[in-house]
Amino acid sequence: MEATQIQLRNKLATLLGILTAIVASLMIAVALIFLLSEDPGRTLYFYFVGPFTSKFVFFNMLESSIPIIFSGLGIAVAFRSGVTNLGGEGQIFAGAMIAVLIGTWFPHLPGIVGTAFLLTGGLVVGALIGSVSGLLRMKWNVSDLLTTYLISSGLVYIVNYLILGPFRDPAKIRIQSISIPDSYMLSRIASPSYLHVGIFGAIIAALCIHFLMKYTHTGYHLRVTGSNRQFARYGGINIRRFYVLPLAISGGLIGLGGAVQIVGRYQACFTDLTAGLGWAGIGVALIARRNPLGVLPAALFYVYLQAGARVAMMNSDVTYEIAAIITSVIFYLITAEVTFAFFRRRLLK
């Protein structure tokens, strides 16, 4: 077989493997609904068709993909570069909080400058958090898997404290932080839904990361080191450097996603803001096979599962968290070598 043909069929096998995981998860969804719902037909309808029946729901679904795209991109970069970032939750939260803080400390900047300032704040804070784990790995070989998670968990409590304590907005009934000025908010598209121009930002971010990884000198070093450290060393690349940089990029993207949540949607920080967005990024990156552009459709699929659950919860008798069961099934199956090997054998012999 020609090398190009082998390449094509390998890609096809990978695609079929991903599809298997997706189909299996959808089957589990159907089974769960039959098991848990009094009126499975109605629930199924709302789950699978619901997200497309109203513009409001549909555009809100798109909106909810924005932070997941950012965290998915961050995780994809980390995985591509051979490091692990389990700190998405804390990075999003810290990114969001810093945006709120900057917004309240500098309330009188011109709108667009303010917005940019807030977003940069989220990016920088996320990158700093990631770098700490990278430095610990580089200097003392401390597991990045553990420190990203631990630092993030600690940060979640600190941000929670800031929201509940010094920066709480006493005028609001709901527990939340003070709000950033209206002038810093991104403009909505497709009102009355929450969809905002941040969606274009997310798409541009995906394109940028794709460009970074594929077409730049730095991206090349990240890919080479991430794919094979011995090969990188053999080629004269200083491999020690490549713990800090990928974790900084990863954390930066995820922190940026947090800031986007503030300027795009919420205007203020509250305790449930992350709600698993950091973890969702891991799932999305895996479905996308660590490919930055693949993160876009993968994130859409991910939020479709969630939006379906939300619609079904409102209109029928299941709870929203069945989406979490379904996504955990995807997690289980998305790396199952047996399915990928099965398709490779079928297609390559």
């Binding site: 090398a3 390449q7 390998n10 000198h217 730095t218 090349y220 090969f231 060393r233 080629g235 004269g236």
Partner: protein, 521 residues
């Protein structure tokens, strides 16, 4: 009952292809072993000896073929099946466990128990001590594995298979890392085991040992059995010829090139590794000139791989002393990046783990050394890269698209990718290790042709190879390494495989003066 046949077991028409590289490790092998004999299996690296024994021991499965024990067909699909047939193997890389003592290692999976539940440490120690005494393999059962010498570790391995009640002992390169003294003792043990009725299969490529210890010898080459004879009836020279084969498959046209100035000068280079009493490389001295191919030949396990690592900045075990001077600088402990800048190109023996990155596409693999030049403002210059890669694809006749991941290519094409990258830089020093290992003839010829072209363009070339054909076909000068030392240096005129083979196998060595003279010449 009829008289028992002398044959204990037979392996018939065994075929084995490893996944991934479509090369036959065993190609229709037949082996017959008699009860109570010491049977040597000899052959060069990659001849398929170990694979055959792993099949016998249930660690690999043959694609085809039959094994008969006492005339009855058996299926050996796991280590346990082999256990049932009382076959035990001592691997070249010992299967010992750090953190356990000698007795623990011996009895593992057959632990004596007390109260049916607990491991009986005392009893285990006692049994191992008794076993050691019975077979004349005395060893302290309470010693920790990490503290043992290689010879003692081997004793533990042998005790383990004896403890498990194996009657057929398969020993893979048992003497490779032993000292002369240890080897003597080891042979005493083997003879004693034989006298007790054990059947012993010993894989080796040391011919003096074959004549000393074995009753019969099976010679393998390229995955096939070339001959099987009674040891007493054939002489060492004949076995050596069979092992290495007569025909030189490849003819390489080497144009006349007058060697120029010295490029690399190595003085007393040694490598010591903690835990090994003898240096892995001992006092290596040589010099390589422009337009010269200097061949380093040795049987695997004699230090070639370490020499490769030390010279290319990839060494991460042990301590290097002595010097290797390239352009007036000692490169012995340099980072690969610095070596690259000084104009070294390097084709590693491990082309899958080191020479390429399997999941990256072809172009990414090919620009590894040149991508700095192909970057403007931090952005890789797509057009320039594409032109560069396409030119190399054409020039090196690589079947593949520039975006094809390397793991979708055949072995020959992967090696072409490595060559294209390394050779296109006009290096002044080229280190090439095992360049045709696992390649077919067409690819091998291509590789040779390219190496010779580099020689014509006045590159100094160090060729490291355990393949004698290759060494003889390409080199201008040849050094043979045995146990980490240079044991002979020759100009490649009127040399033949047999005589070189004798040096590689440790049957002969030159005097210090001869070696010095050879290096200086």
């Amino acid at each position: 009952m009829a008289i028992e046949s002398p044959v204990l077991f037979e392996m018939e028409n065994i075929h084995k292809i490893y996944d991934g590289n479509n090369v036959y490790a065993n190609k229709g092998v037949n082996l017959s072993v008699n009860r109570g004999e010491i049977h040597a299996i000899v052959g060069e690296n990659g001849a398929g000896k170990t694979t055959l024994m792993k099949i016998l021991c249930g660690l690999e499965r043959a694609n085809e073929g039959e094994i008969r024990f006492n005339g009855k067909p058996v299926s050996i699909e796991s280590a346990r099946d082999a256990d049932m047939l009382e076959i035990g193997m001592v691997h070249q890389h010992f299967c010992l466990f750090d953190g356990f003592n000698v007795a623990d290692n011996v009895v593992l999976t057959r632990e004596p128990r007390k109260n049916g539940l607990f491991y009986d440490r005392v009893n285990a120690a006692k049994k191992v001590e008794e076993l050691g005494a019975k077979y004349n393999l005395p060893i302290d059962p309470g010693a920790s594995i990490e503290s043992l010498s290689v010879g003692e570790k081997q004793k533990v391995e042998i005790l383990r298979i004896l403890y498990r009640g194996s009657k057929v002992l398969v020993l893979d390169e048992p003497t490779a890392l032993l000292t002369e003294q240890e080897i003597k003792g080891f042979f005493v043990t083997l003879r004693q085991l034989k006298s007790l009725g054990y059947t012993i299969i010993i894989i080796t490529h040391k011919l003096d040992e074959v004549t000393e210890i074995s009753d019969r010898v099976t010679v393998m080459r390229n995955g096939e059995v070339v001959n099987c004879c009674i040891t007493e009836e054939c002489d060492t020279q004949a076995i050596a010829r069979m092992m290495v084969g007569k025909e030189v498959l490849l003819q390489v046209e080497k144009p006349e090139v007058k060697p120029g100035a010295t490029v690399l000068k190595i003085n007393g280079l040694s490598l010591t590794v903690p835990g090994f009493s003898n240096p892995i490389l001992n006092d290596i001295s040589l010099s390589i000139r422009e337009g010269e191919i200097f061949g380093m030949a040795a049987v695997a396990g004699n230090g070639l791989a370490d020499l490769e690592n030390v010279l290319t900045g990839m060494n991460s075990r042990g301590e290097v002393s002595g010097e290797a001077i390239l352009h007036g600088k000692n490169i012995a402990n340099m980072h690969p990046g610095e070596l690259r800048e000084m104009g070294m190109a390097y084709v590693p023996a491990d082309r899958l783990q080191r020479g390429t990155s399997a999941e990256l596409q072809l172009s990414d693999n090919m620009i590894l050394l040149e991508h700095h030049k192909m970057t403007r403002a931090g952005v890789l210059q797509g057009k320039g890269i594409l032109a560069f890669v396409k030119e190399l694809l054409l020039k090196y006749n690589i079947v593949g698209h520039h975006a094809t991941p390397v793991n979708n290519l055949s072995g020959g094409n992967i090696q072409r990718v490595v060559l294209s990258r390394e050779f296109s830089r006009d290096p002044n020093l080229l280190v090439v290790s095992e360049p045709t290992w696992g390649l077919d003839i067409v690819s091998s010829e291509f590789v040779y042709q390219k190496i010779v072209e580099m020689r014509s363009s006045k590159t100094a070339i160090l060729l490291i190879s355990a393949n004698l054909d290759e060494i003889l076909a390409l080199s201008d000068k040849i050094a043979v390494i045995y146990r980490g030392e240079i044991v002979g240096v020759f100009a490649n005129t009127n040399l033949d495989r047999e005589s070189l083979g004798e040096y590689m196998l440790g049957l002969k060595r030159q005097s210090k003066e001869e070696i010095l003279h050879g290096v200086e010449a």
